[in-house]
């Protein structure tokens, strides 16, 4: 389940900042009642990630995105780790075909 929720406004001077976050919730609950016994299991995981801050002032509203730069860099490195061996493989095959 993915939802975007709004926090309490933060007032800084003339400005009002409204935080926005994405909540990813996954979980399961299971109860089984059988003749041989009772069993209950519950697990839940919640991830909260800030996505933006909305600035409200005299000049209106402005949405400022909050990006996870570390995750972006790590994704880039992962992509490079997949693409570079593929490119090398293509280069070797082309070279050996000649």
């Amino acid at each position: 389940m993915n939802t975007v929720i709004t926090g309490d406004p933060i007032r800084v001077g003339e400005r009002e900042l409204l935080p926005l976050a994405q909540v990813t919730f996954s979980g399961r609950r299971r109860v089984s009642l059988t003749g041989r016994g009772t069993m209950a299991q519950v697990w839940a995981v919640a991830r909260l990630r800030p996505i933006a801050i909305v600035e409200r002032g005299d000049q209106g509203e402005r949405r400022i995105s909050i990006r996870d730069e570390t995750a972006r860099l790590l994704s880039g490195l992962l992509l490079a780790a997949i693409l570079i061996p593929l490119l090398l493989e293509v280069a070797v095959r082309l070279y050996r075909r000649e």
Partner: protein
């Protein structure tokens, strides 16, 4: 036992409802005309389980339950665990002129991943060069 199961189910619902944005944005701190708001991402979770089984006799047969004494002992067990993780993500800087978001990069994590990537690429390069310069087998 029913109370324990109910408690498990209640905690499940509570976790879902308590997810609040306010946990991600810290208290604003004003220094020399600048206001700084720390921003973090968090993740948390838990797992629990409980169960009962009827008491078995020495022959493995299920013992008869006495209807008049429901408090007859049964095999019961329960357990659980949970965890929480927080990571700084950015700093919101509010000045008189503008509101800016300064990202926080986990340099240690990126450096470690970069080193691993470099080793990975060197390995693949060596493998590619070996294949290029190795004599070809003829049938």
């Amino acid at each position: 036992m029913e109370a324990m199961i109910q408690k498990l189910l209640d905690s499940f619902t509570a976790l879902r409802e308590r997810a609040s944005v306010n946990a991600l944005f810290g208290e604003p701190v004003t220094v020399e005309g600048r206001t700084i708001i720390p921003v973090a991402k968090i993740a948390y979770g838990f797992g629990m389980g409980a169960g009962t089984a009827p008491v078995l006799s020495s022959t493995g047969e299920q013992e008869e339950t006495d209807e008049e004494s429901p408090s007859q002992p049964a095999n019961e067990g329960s357990g659980g665990g949970g965890g929480m993780m927080g990571q700084p993500l950015a700093v919101v800087e509010v000045t008189e002129e503008a509101v800016r978001v300064q990202p926080i990069i986990d340099e240690q994590k990126v450096a470690l991943a970069g080193t691993l990537l470099a080793a990975w690429i060197v390995g693949w390069l060596a493998y590619a060069l070996m294949r290029i310069f190795s004599p070809r087998r003829t049938a």
